[in-house]
């Protein structure tokens, strides 16, 4: 029966090739535009560390004074953590693993004579950073908690920077000059680029920044290395801008908690810690303001999707809707015009649901053709997105689920568009139609 309906649909579509082409074009344009933007949104909100992200959390305290004035568009000062709080959370050691971190850009002065000095982005972190995020090492290893305590001048390089600096030779144990100081290379990581870079400062370029070096946070603070990201202070005295002061937030903090029970316990620990700080007079806000965000929850809170992308998504969906209304009108006209043919079939014994199925298959066939066209248009759309100046541009690629999703969306859209016309068409009165024609 299915093959017969397919055959009927094919014949019907071929009878009005121009109209069929218009419908396929409309659905193809609508689907292509929508899928381009849905794909962009999909890569922007993707899980940066599949498999590990459910165990990663970021604690947030609110050390801001009650009268702290938040600038209109400036980032929330409570998004980051102060140095004393970060050190207290590290020392408490209540999570499986925990690390404090901050971004920094340093000038590399290569020993090789053929390379000019250049700037690289990297991260100042504490020892658990590598194990907690599951960073793969190619050579050597990370530093230890003892190195943190000793403010050791050691550095872990990314594979790209390591190759650039040492070529094919071995660089483990050698010194690299970063800024005005020498650091001993103790490890090399594979190029590891979670997208978005969830652990970066809220002001960072989450989709294009890549960390090329990692060195102990204690050493960075000790040497007063320059840091990237937002530093929000509210102190009145001169040490209000000191990195280790209690009145400036600038660090990011992440913990690994393996079970919901652990997460619950940690959340309680944060509230208790805040209450204790409040009792000491350091915190002014309610201790229940302390929050523990899951990784995906944090990304949602940070709202990394640019406003323009949202606007474009809405435009694309609106466009798809207009295309669908268009197809509903065209299918309605087309199906009702075939009232006499439908009446003959009904008179010969076809049930309403047979007619409905037949017309549904005809709509679906348009959907398949529109979906294929939509895929082509979406690829062109994504190609143009990749040429945009935005930091997420390079990520705009369609994966297999998105590819199948496009076809599915096209078929669903066209079948939905066909529902109303098909329902109207199968309600025609056979006797009346046969008589009048």
């Amino acid at each position: 029966m299915f093959a017969y309906y397919l055959d009927l649909a094919w014949h019907s579509l071929r009878r009005n090739p121009i109209l069929t082409a218009l419908m396929v074009l409309a659905i193809g344009l609508g689907i292509g535009a929508s899928m381009t933007m849905i794909t962009v949104l999909h890569v922007l909100t993707d899980d940066p560390l599949p498999g590990r992200s459910s165990q990663l959390f970021t604690p947030h305290l609110d050390p801001l004074p009650l009268n702290y004035k938040q600038g209109g568009d400036s980032p929330d000062a409570a998004d980051n953590v102060t140095w004393p709080d970060a050190m207290a959370l590290l020392k408490a050691h209540r999570a499986e693993r925990q690390a404090a971190m901050a971004g920094g850009t340093l000038l590399v002065r290569p020993a090789r004579a053929d390379l000019r000095p250049f700037n690289v982005d990297g991260r100042y972190a504490t020892a658990d950073f590598f194990a907690m995020f599951g960073m793969p090492f190619e050579h050597g290893q990370s530093w230890s908690a003892a190195d943190d305590a000793a403010r050791a001048h050691v550095v872990v390089l990314s594979d790209t920077l390591y190759r650039k600096l040492f070529g094919n030779g071995s660089g483990i144990g050698q010194d690299v000059r970063l800024g005005e100081h020498d650091f001993r290379v103790i490890g090399v990581t594979a190029d590891w680029q979670p997208k978005p870079m969830f652990y970066a400062d809220p002001g960072a370029q989450h989709y294009s920044d890549v960390d090329q070096f990692f060195l102990p946070l204690s050493a960075a603070v000790d040497l007063k290395l320059s840091t990237n990201g937002n530093q929000s202070g509210w102190g009145k005295n001169d040490d209000s801008t000191s990195l280790t002061g209690a009145t400036m937030t600038w660090l990011q903090f992440w913990v690994q908690l393996n079970s919901p029970a652990q997460a619950q316990a940690y959340r309680q620990f944060l509230v208790d810690y805040s209450a204790q700080q409040k009792a000491q007079g350091r915190f002014e806000r309610p201790s229940t303001d302390a929050k523990l965000y899951s990784l995906m929850g944090w990304l949602k809170h940070e709202n990394l999707v640019p406003n323009d992308v949202r606007l474009q998504l809405w435009l694309a969906l609106g466009f798809l809707f207009v295309c669908m209304v268009n197809i509903v009108a065209l299918l309605l006209a087309k199906f009702l015009r075939r009232s006499s043919e439908i009446s003959v079939r009904r008179a010969l014994g076809a049930r309403r649901r047979d007619i409905f199925l037949q017309l549904g298959i005809e709509s679906a066939l348009i959907g398949v053709a529109g979906g294929v066209l939509g895929l082509v248009i979406a690829q062109i759309g994504l190609w143009s997105v990749r040429h945009r100046p935005d930091d997420y541009a390079q990520l705009a690629q369609m994966d297999m689920p998105m590819l199948l999703g496009t076809l599915a969306l096209a078929i669903i859209a066209s079948v939905v568009a066909g529902l109303l016309p098909a329902w109207r068409a199968c309600r025609v009165q056979p006797a009346l139609q046969l008589k009048t024609s």
Binding site: L29, P117, L311, V325, N326, V328, A329, P389
Partner: protein, 404 residues
């Protein structure tokens, strides 16, 4: 032309008519709002920076030892001035469309009680005012004595030049000359008003604050070094920038040229507005696609109706209707449907505008967009229906005698 029979015919196709009207309503709503968005974006890209962009270029150095910055300034200023095509070299902290350097909140009282917004301070050595090509509208030009040594990012107590937009924001309807404002412990007195001076990296509070800049003359030194403003012959700017890089490699081998910020101001501006131009382009594409689809819908539906009514058209022709009567029938029919769609579309346009206003800092949709949107949809509707209407007019009267 009687409208009654058209209504009677449309009533037979209520659903299809309604759908077409709905489609036109959506198209009208999106068209008005998208045009409004495009125009506001395009206006944004035409902002007047207040400086002679075509004749200016910036060179930014990093990585040098801060202790040697006075020496670096001296070497760079004297060496770059020797490059052919360079008219002047000055030290400045930031340039329009480059990275921002002196952004701070200001207040109109010394105690900091009356917060007046976040502004950008341009700090430059005495020659930079003339080099930028700033246009003075009130007050006097900065004198050499106005330039003070710097201990921080701005002098402790300085005469400054503010833009007209900032002056109007701080002291509406009063003469800004001699007025004072503060940021933290720094005190400023207005010495003059500038026509325009755009902030380096746009305004934090939306497009209206893009001109909230303050020009502060100061002496180059440890706190003012590393960024240089070159006034060049516009035709030679690419070569001058190349020469400048080569010269810096020899006179300051330690320093690293920040390529992103070492560009002509024209290039910086182009990069700065790329996102806006892109969005305007996308919106334009959406409008075209939307109108195309709407036109296709009208063509499709009208063609069907023409085919369906061949016999009736034949009867009318046989009873004496002329070809132009038939064309007029279909055009009137389209006019009625589009009219219905536009009424609904205008309401929808305002609803979408309200939504956009909530999320995108957009002003209210000006009323004159509505008749323009309506006219364009009428035009598209009439053009789209013309083909099917002409085909209908070609139906011979003999069609009346044929049965299906």
């Amino acid at each position: 032309m009687q409208i009654q029979p058209i209504f009677a015919a449309l009533r037979k196709h209520r659903l299809a008519t309604l759908l077409l009207a709905l489609e036109i309503a959506l198209a009208c709503a999106v068209l008005c709002n998208a045009c409004f968005l495009i125009i506001s974006r395009v206006q944004h890209t035409h902002v007047d920076s207040g400086v002679d962009e075509s004749a200016l270029a910036a060179v930014k150095l990093t990585g040098y030892d801060p202790a040697s910055s006075v020496d670096l300034n001296a070497r760079v200023l004297s060496r770059l001035a020797k490059i052919p095509g360079v008219q002047s070299v000055n030290v400045i902290n930031a340039v329009p469309f480059g990275d921002h350097a002196g952004t701070a909140g200001i207040s109109t009282d010394a105690a900091g009680k009356h917060f007046a917004g976040v502004v950008d301070f341009y700090v430059g050595n005495p020659g930079s005012f003339k080099a930028l090509g700033l246009q003075l509208v009130a007050g006097s030009m900065p004198q050499a004595s106005d330039a003070q040594p710097l201990d921080s990012f701005v002098p402790k107590n300085a005469t400054v030049w503010v833009t007209r937009a900032l002056a109007e924001h701080l002291w509406p309807d009063t003469d800004p000359l001699g007025r004072e404002f503060w940021t933290d412990q720094f005190h400023f007195r207005v010495g003059g008003v500038l026509a325009h001076l755009a902030r380096p990296w746009g305004g934090e509070g939306g497009p209206s604050t893009i001109d909230w800049s303050v020009y502060v003359p100061a002496q180059a030194g440890r706190q003012l070094a590393g960024t240089y403003l070159l006034r060049v012959n516009p035709a030679e700017s690419p070569r001058v920038l190349r020469d400048a890089r080569a010269a810096i490699a020899t006179i300051a081998p330690d320093a690293v040229v920040d390529s992103k910020n070492s560009q002509t101001l024209g290039t910086l501006r182009e990069k700065y507005f790329r996102q806006d131009r892109l969005m305007a382009g996308i919106l334009l594409g959406v409008i075209c696609a939307l109108l195309l689809v709407t036109a296709l819908g009208i063509v499709g539906l009208a063609s069907f109706w023409v085919q369906q009514r061949r016999r009736q058209i034949g009867v009318r022709r046989a009873l004496g209707a002329t070809r132009s009567d038939i064309v007029a029938y279909f055009q009137t029919e389209n006019f009625l449907i589009v009219s219905g769609g536009i009424v609904l579309g205008m309401l929808l346009a305002f609803a979408i505008n309200l939504l956009l206003m909530q999320h995108y800092e957009l002003p209210r949709l000006p009323l004159y967009y509505l008749p323009i949107g309506a006219l364009s949809l009428y035009a598209i509707g009439q053009l789209a229906v013309l083909g099917p209407a002409l085909r209908a007019a070609a139906v011979p009267p003999v069609e009346a005698t044929r049965s299906v």
